[in-house]
Symmetry: C2
Subunit: 247 residues, 2 copies
Amino acid sequence: MQDSHTSETTQKTIEETIVSGILSARIRPGTRLSENQLATLFGVSRTRVREAMMRLETRGIVHVSPRRGWFVVEPSAEEAIAVYEARRVIEAGLLRSMRVLTGEGREALDAHLNEEKSAMAAGDRQRLTYLMGDFHIRIAELSGNAIIVDILRDLTARTILISMLYQSEFHAAQSHEGHCRIFQAMQAGDFGRAAELSVEHLDDVEMGLDLTARPDPLSELRSSLSLPPRTVSATVRPKNHKLQRSN
Amino acid sequence: MQDSHTSETTQKTIEETIVSGILSARIRPGTRLSENQLATLFGVSRTRVREAMMRLETRGIVHVSPRRGWFVVEPSAEEAIAVYEARRVIEAGLLRSMRVLTGEGREALDAHLNEEKSAMAAGDRQRLTYLMGDFHIRIAELSGNAIIVDILRDLTARTILISMLYQSEFHAAQSHEGHCRIFQAMQAGDFGRAAELSVEHLDDVEMGLDLTARPDPLSELRSSLSLPPRTVSATVRPKNHKLQRSN
DNA sequence: TGTGGCTATCTTGCATACAAGACAGAAAGC
DNA sequence: GCTTTCTGTCTTGTATGCAAGATAGCCACA
């Protein structure tokens, strides 16, 4: 989606900066996103920051606590399950709908898997997080369907936020192998098998989560008392250290 | 995701009013949505209208032509194909992921199919349009996955816009039968079959479109002169589809 | 008749002003 | 010491003002 309107450039940049920050695990769930700070950071007024926030909110990336602030979402356990379920449905459906793996497609995935391998060798965890999510986006790109790509990108972003909340350790090697298996099935032209493997792979990742480790240990009590949701960590927060999380 | 913040009520109403207007085919593709008019209509300032527009834009319902105005999207032929492809992928994946049809699920779908029948008898075309789209949303609701429901609702809205642009006549009876067949397969517990039928059904509907009847008869000239496009593109490759633009 | 250019008036783009809720921390009362 | 209340300052919510592009219509002129 190329836009020739320079006027929208900045706005898209705010959105994309945040999303790519999440995709590469540089922005943690619960991060406060102050309109003022973002405005000065991007050299625009709050108006445009708000517009970006609204968009991100409808994409499920960010939420607002009225008169308290914008925060990167902290998916609940239930939401986490829903995200994985949605990904299984869409990714399996996508693979099953594929008929051929083109030469460029093969090359793209092959190159990607090599990147994964080298990132593993280098122990570059942030890059690894990014690549592990990006694999699925690349598969979506093979379909050439921009709608599905956009959907899966946003779901992947949420997945990464979920990982940061609930994943105790990071089984990169296991994920990498899962990706390789999917790729092999695709190369063999067996997309039904690839779909099955994809479901298994997502199951594995989901299984590796500790969904009992809640982001907010008080959430049960809090909601039963119908108190406002908790304010969470502030990575960028110059003066007011009031709202900080303990980790 | 229900919100308890009354402050957002109005805003959501603007969004939902427009979406439900589309879902029931009361709002046509290309309709101009003036910020000022909507603002006075809803008794708010342009600010809030703009926010609603931004949200609708990220949902693919509306687009803005800079300094000219907001318009309900008029999907191009390529976008139309992409929407149907995405729906096939997601709906088939969804059905295939289902394991049981609960009693309430059966009742809900049965009730819905009866509504379709009575709307057909009454010849209520607008209501019929709404119901034909809503069937698929109801199936999504059976999954209990709010993410998938939201995605399919927006895709259904786009589908209806596509119908209004490209569908010469409305084969309600045919669609209704397709729905019944899907329902039967689900009742029989054969969700794989239901998925296949769903794909076929969407193929049928797509086949009934005349994608050569362009919404913008000048688009060829326009693009050959590389003037700004009338709708923003989603890059999609032409498939094995009938819509070959032969010249 | 047709063509170029001016202008009035639409439209959105964006910044800003002010209202008002939410909190933290100090002050006051017990 | 403990609670309560107040107050300053942070935050977002919303309206409004102005800038500037886009368009249509008019008019002059060839």
